[in-house]
């Protein structure tokens, strides 16, 4: 047997298969068309195997490899690793895709190290070049550099940033095959004693990565109480409130609201940055937004270079006036 096709790891804890996994199935189809072979979806499931498999086939899988587990909702990292190592050894895919979610980024390197494969992190693209090689595109140096990377051994393993590829249109007339597997305990010794998920600890309050419009506030905010004004503006615009790191450091906002290298990478239609200077670690988290509006008292603030509209002025005054204007506009509309 030789290496062929693409395998996708379907992230499936908590609420079920993640959106990012469907994005990967779409990309996998595109790549398989160029390099040949099947698209395999690898998933760990407790029940309703057929139902899940049908969905994965509709989104692009030719073959669904199911490992039966009892703890789908509270996944054991070591058991997922053993399942993937087993699947990769049997399927011999040329390319293995993982979602670059924290879970995917925790799992993929263990799998890679176990089989001695190369792994490329948090990719923004994967393509097949003129010589038929798979090329992985990723940011490095806190987003300052974009690198194109080839893997010279098999398989090529990649984690892909959620949201960069579209979710494909499902086609429920597609046909695929389901292969059920059981991991016997000697394939994954001591996994259960080594790693135990005790339970859900905290839900995320917000998922700013999914927002279409973001109002993001930075150190220009003078006190915790002042955040209310910007919250109101966000609400009036139907936007999600977000922030830069100093507000999290100060304890004024939760980490889930932070945009940037050590926070969340966002790609909204409109990003409104108020009182944010535009440090590289912040830019790394928002530079792919479709349209950027920023407000800053300092005309030389670096964020200007990443903005479509740059307002030189006070963020408080701006927010109050915009709020008034929007309310007037809505009032007129009623």
């Amino acid at each position: 047997m030789s290496w062929s096709g693409v395998a996708v790891y379907v992230e499936n804890y908590g609420r079920g298969p993640s959106k990012a996994s469907f994005e990967l199935l779409g990309k996998a189809r595109e790549i398989a068309a160029k390099i040949g072979g099947f698209v395999h979806a690898i998933v760990l499931l407790d029940k309703e195997v057929e139902k899940c498999a049908d969905v994965l086939v509709a989104y692009g899988a030719d073959e669904v490899i199911v490992y039966r587990v009892e703890d789908r909702e509270l996944p054991n990292l070591l058991i997922h690793k053993c399942s993937l190592v087993d699947a990769i050894k049997q399927l011999m895919p040329k390319l293995v895709l993982f979602p670059a979610t924290p879970w995917g980024r925790s799992l993929a390197p263990r799998v890679a190290a176990s089989i001695g494969a190369g792994l490329t992190a948090d990719c923004l693209d994967v393509y097949v070049d003129d010589s038929g090689d798979i090329v992985q595109v990723r940011p490095a140096f806190t987003g300052n550099i974009i690198a194109h990377i080839k893997t010279i051994t098999h398989p090529v393993m990649t984690t892909v940033r959620p949201g960069v590829f579209p979710v494909p249109k499902p086609d429920f007339s597609r046909k695929g095959r389901v292969i059920e597997k059981v991991l016997n305990s000697n394939m994954c010794p001591s996994a259960k004693e080594g790693y135990r998920v005790l339970g859900l600890s905290r839900e995320k309050k917000v998922r700013i990565q999914e927002a279409r419009v973001i109002v993001s506030i930075g150190r220009g905010v003078k006190s915790r109480e002042d955040i209310k004004l910007f919250e109101e503006l966000a609400k009036e615009l139907g936007a999600q409130l977000a922030c830069s790191k100093p507000l999290v450091d100060a304890g004024w906002m939760e980490k889930d609201f932070q945009v940037g290298f050590s926070g969340n990478i966002v790609k909204p239609k409109v990003y409104i940055a108020l009182g944010i200077s535009g440090a590289p670690q912040h830019i790394a988290g928002m530079k792919d937004s479709d349209f950027v509006i920023s407000v800053n008292t300092d005309p030389s603030a670096p964020i200007a270079r990443y903005s479509n509209i740059f307002v030189v002025g006070d963020m408080y005054e701006f927010a109050k006036k915009l709020l008034d204007a929007v309310r007037t506009l809505k009032g007129v509309g009623n």
Binding site: A113, I146, I149, G194, E203, A279, K287, I293, V312
Partner: protein, 268 residues
């Protein structure tokens, strides 16, 4: 407790100069300092040592000029700093880096816990922690935001899976990759500034430098450096050229311009 901390000496990302044409980094343009996330690993190591006693050994794979960063680690409370430095380590990707670090840990002998940062500001992969754990066959948790229990043989941590945070029990020995903001047994962890006395002491302290030959008994030398690296950068370029030409507006005019734009963009 035998505590190992993985410390990556990295360039200060706000000062480092990029060759915008070639898309490369001028590594001589700034000093190497401790990767910001790794400062949290040192801090947690100190707290564990306070509770259980033991020693903190830091391991870094880096060029010789990283010594300054290791002295900083010593000043911050690391007992023993080991620098893995050799031409044969050069060109390592995350797999070869992890193999080298794991081999050095093997050479050290037994350990109870390995602490590292969530990711590095230059490599930015978050691979090295999990890969080291796999190579040493111990459990790990990444993106850890809380250590809520610490016993002699097991610990409980909170880890960010993406959709939510989960509570995980790990049997020791284990590896933990730390995020921020971070809590340790109910207290917020922040890197502290070393005292002058400690800085002076660290200046005279010994940094152990290990070469590839020092790992001969525990490592396959073909798995080090570029030889052991399956990935290759084929092209790179500077990413922060935005290509956006901002329309600059002032004061009250700004509000009407933004209002207009929001209407056109369909927000209003």
């Amino acid at each position: 407790m035998n505590i190992v901390v993985l410390i990556k000496p990295t360039p200060d990302i706000t000062k480092v100069k990029f060759d915008i044409e070639k898309g490369t980094v001028n590594r001589a343009s700034t000093n190497l300092e401790i990767n910001p996330f790794d400062l949290y690993a040192i801090e947690v190591a100190k707290r564990i040592k306070k509770l259980f006693g033991g020693t903190i050994v830091s391991i870094s794979m880096a060029p010789p000029q990283a010594e300054v960063a290791l002295r900083d680690a010593l000043a911050r409370g690391v007992d023993r700093a080991i620098l893995l430095s050799d031409r044969r380590f050069a060109g390592a990707d995350t797999l070869a880096t992890s193999y080298t670090l794991a081999s050095a840990i093997r050479k050290l002998g037994s350990f109870d816990i390995i602490l590292c940062g969530e990711k590095s500001v230059d490599g930015d992969t978050a691979h090295v922690g999990p890969e080291v754990a796999e190579l040493l066959r111990v459990p790990h948790a990444s993106f850890v935001t809380q250590v809520s229990r610490f016993d002699k043989d097991r610990i409980v941590v909170e880890s960010d899976y993406g959709d939510a945070y989960y509570e995980i029990e790990l049997r020791l020995p284990a590896l933990v990759a730390l995020s921020r903001p971070l809590m340790f047994l109910g207290e917020t962890v922040e890197p502290s500034i070393p005292k002058v006395g400690d800085v002076l002491r660290a200046r005279r302290a010994k940094i152990e430098v290990w070469s590839a030959d020092d790992l001969k008994d525990v490592a396959d030398l073909n798995r080090l450096g570029i030889l052991g690296s399956p990935t290759r950068v084929v092209k790179s370029y500077y990413a922060l050229e935005s290509g956006r030409e901002a329309k600059v507006v002032r004061g009250i005019e700004g509000v009407s311009t933004v209002l207009q734009a929001l209407k056109e963009l369909g927000v209003l």
